[in-house]
């Protein structure tokens, strides 16, 4: 016999799953959880969407979502992946943006705006490469303190 969990309780459980490549962000901060539904028979369906087509972390994230739900007593959660609508950095939460900046990664900016340096907050920054250490990041440099930094690029 399994107790029915509310949608909010499920979201609370999901907030324990982090992006393996940017461990300060939860899957909720990233905006990749598109839907959570609890069916009449208490079964749980979680709908997720990938950030980038080739994001190697997606499979692991799916495995971890399943693991935390099973651990919380939900026997056989269904995890669905959808492509549409395509993920956008607009779905990142304000809390996620703050955590990124504290972690030393500049959060996504409105288009055509230079990201501020996460160390000295200067806007006098330049792009070194549109491609960085993971698919979601670009490599920038601060022209004032001279430090290079990661930028979670607009998508």
């Amino acid at each position: 016999m399994t107790a029915t969990r509310s949608r909010d309780e499920i979201l609370q459980i999901l907030s324990r799953v982090c992006d393996p490549e940017i461990p300060v962000l939860t899957v909720l901060d990233l905006g990749i959880i598109r839907d959570v539904s609890v069916e009449n028979d208490s079964s749980v369906i979680v709908t997720i969407t990938p950030t980038y087509s080739g994001c190697p972390a997606m499979r692991l994230i799916e495995t971890e979502i399943r693991a935390v739900l099973v651990e919380a007593g939900i026997p056989d959660p269904v995890i669905r992946t959808i492509l549409h609508p395509a993920w956008t950095t607009d779905w990142m939460t304000p809390a996620g943006r703050e955590k990124l900046e504290r972690f030393g990664i500049a959060p996504p900016q409105p288009r055509d705006q230079h990201p501020p340096c996460p160390r000295c907050h200067s806007r006098n920054t330049r792009e070194l490469s549109a491609f960085g250490s993971t698919a979601c990041k670009a490599l920038w440099q601060c022209q004032d303190c001279k430090e290079p930094f990661d930028y979670f690029k607009c998508h």
Binding site: P50, Y52, S53, G54, C55, P56, L83, H84, P85, A86, W87, L128, S129, A130, F131, G132, S133, A135, L139, H155
Partner: protein, 253 residues
């Protein structure tokens, strides 16, 4: 006897083949890029393209009447069953060749995907809408490098001119529809190359002129990839790409 494959299946598999083969080529640069940033860039683009290839293969596998999987499609076909364009299987050569191959591909890929987003075949439209965001970064990168190298030093200009001479004959195939593409164009499921052509031609000519590179005048066109007739390079590439599954069938991580 099984029914022939549908045009939609063949097209999805073809799009996957373009991504897988070009992605594999770019991944050969891993650890060998001219500078760290460009090494990382080429492997990032490889990752995007291989990710997109998986989505197309998954779509193809879903619509196939058998229990075919994306891995079967990627790893267990002979060379003649691959339908990628010849351009993407050409060897990396020097950095100029890799950059130009990428640019010629992206200059077609980006406007093609923009239009494919509106396909009434929702499976294709959804992949295109996802991919177009990634490919706009690819195009920005390859276009900038064509200009930087063409308009760079004497040596970089010479190398780009050589790359153009070597690769120019392969660009046209992207806009020459196969039989199965023609069926899909007629039913407006994929974009019509004739509608795409002016924009594509303009993008290429404008970039080459900004780079100070001459537009080659050769009328020669090489094609055949969409029908499985490849250059000698694809077999060697597949020998490496398929090695694990051929040596250890069914092997998993």
């Amino acid at each position: 006897m099984s029914a022939p494959d549908s045009p939609l299946f063949l097209f999805a598999r073809h799009m996957g083949d373009n991504g897988l083969i070009l992605g594999h080529r770019l991944s050969e640069w891993c650890g060998h890029g001219p500078v760290l940033e460009q090494d990382i860039t080429m492997t990032n683009i490889a990752l995007d393209l291989i990710g997109q290839a998986r989505l197309y293969y998954q779509l193809a596998a879903e619509m196939h009447p058998s229990d075919l999987t994306e891995d079967d499609i990627a790893y267990l076909r002979p060379e003649r069953a691959y339908s990628n364009v010849l351009l993407v299987e050409q060897p990396n050569g020097d950095f100029a060749h890799t950059v130009l191959r990428q640019f010629l591909f992206d200059a077609w890929h980006l406007p093609f995907l923009h239009r494919l987003c509106d396909s009434p075949e929702s499976g294709l439209g959804e992949i295109a809408a996802k991919a177009v965001k990634e490919v706009s970064y690819h195009y920005r990168w390859s276009r900038e490098w064509v200009i930087r190298l063409g308009d760079g030093t004497e040596e970089s200009h010479r190398r780009m001119t050589q790359a153009l001479d070597d690769l120019w004959i392969y660009r046209e195939e992207l806009l020459l529809p196969s039989d199965w593409e023609q069926t899909l164009i007629r039913s407006e499921i994929i974009p019509d190359p004739d509608v795409l052509r002016p924009e594509w031609q303009h993008a290429i000519h404008a970039t080459l002129s900004e780079a100070g590179l001459p537009i080659p005048q050769t009328p020669v066109i090489q094609q055949g990839g969409k029908n499985g007739i490849h250059t000698e390079h694809l077999g060697h590439l597949l020998a490496e790409l398929q090695y694990m599954q051929r040596a250890y069938p069914g092997q998993v991580w």
